[in-house]
Symmetry: C2
Amino acid sequence: MISRTYDVPVSENETAPAGLREQKKHATRLAMHRAALELVAEDGLSGVTSEMIARRAGVSPRTFFNHWSTKESAILGVVGDEGPRAVASLREKLETLPVRAALLAVIREGISRIPVDPELRELKKRVMAQEPSLHSISTGNLQAMQTDLVDVLDEALEEEYSRELAIIVVQVSFALTRSAFAISMRRGIDPVLAFDQVIELYHERARDL
Amino acid sequence: MISRTYDVPVSENETAPAGLREQKKHATRLAMHRAALELVAEDGLSGVTSEMIARRAGVSPRTFFNHWSTKESAILGVVGDEGPRAVASLREKLETLPVRAALLAVIREGISRIPVDPELRELKKRVMAQEPSLHSISTGNLQAMQTDLVDVLDEALEEEYSRELAIIVVQVSFALTRSAFAISMRRGIDPVLAFDQVIELYHERARDL
DNA sequence: CTGGTTGTTGCATTGACTGCACTATTGCAT
DNA sequence: ATGCAATAGTGCAGTCAATGCAACAACCAG
């Protein structure tokens, strides 16, 4: 069978300790992610090639692209397709929660699933600060899922302009998410914590500006 | 002097009829933009190369990249750096308006500056619908300006957590902008009109979901 | 007409990314 | 333990986006 590209999250505390095979694969992935961050921190995004990253991680250039679909996704340590999980989770929560609350809960869940390697956080913080173009890419990665969520909400809301409302609610919620990431990076705090603070600030103070 | 990349908006009703030179340049730009949209509508983003676009537009491949920094920016007909103008405008409006209103006014101003070619709107609508990855890129282009606006607001707000509040307000405002573009594309209506509707929906209905 | 400016082009090059065929490990069943 | 199937890693060749550079052509101002 053909080897494919994964783009699945990097983490140590992954579910399933699994076999030796999985472990090695994961170690390779982590090595590449770390190498990517280190190199970019040193020489800047444009000063680093996929080949350099591969070399420092001790793999062939081809292997690099078997794991990451782009150079940038290796740097960001991205984040496979959360879409399906998010959709299911949203459907479930909509049975007991109002729209906005349900959506925010789903997002919070997603954020808390991001692995937090204390070693890499500082590195990533520095990299994100010095390479703004990565921000767009990072947030772009979320975009895919948004469409699916809009569909779910559109279906759930049975009002007039439900599609428009769904779009707005999803966009605004992800705006809060991006704010949380920005603040989390800026202050080096846990993303979930930042998210909670953002929600509070938004409700208590941001509305009457 | 060296030829540089422009990435400046495509429009017919541009300020300054200018000399023949300007006219030709503009015609070339428009031809490329149109060619890009047409080709992508026909064969999809990945089925189109920069060379094909250049050929259909009747220019050399090199000229293509003299005008557009990426293949995608030609498709989107992107929009040069509105940053400085937006910053100045925001500073001015902050003297008479509250933060959120000032920001929204600046954005509305920016949207209304986008040229609206009825011929191309339909084409673009189709392309955007069938190529979701362009959405991320389109919104990514706005991201650059956001940082600057955050700085201005941070400075203007003299509260605690002013930076955090500034981030949130800007992110949310741009979320509304993206919503407006999405809806504008979806229904084929004027972006400014869509923006106004979004603002109203947000205030009147989206808050209590 | 003339010279300076600016848009256009060709050429060569780098680097991201992919398909394919092949090797090397590992997991599993016998 | 041994052999087979599945999957991770590799090498290679190729496509295409994007850029620097130098020559060239069109325009514009005097």
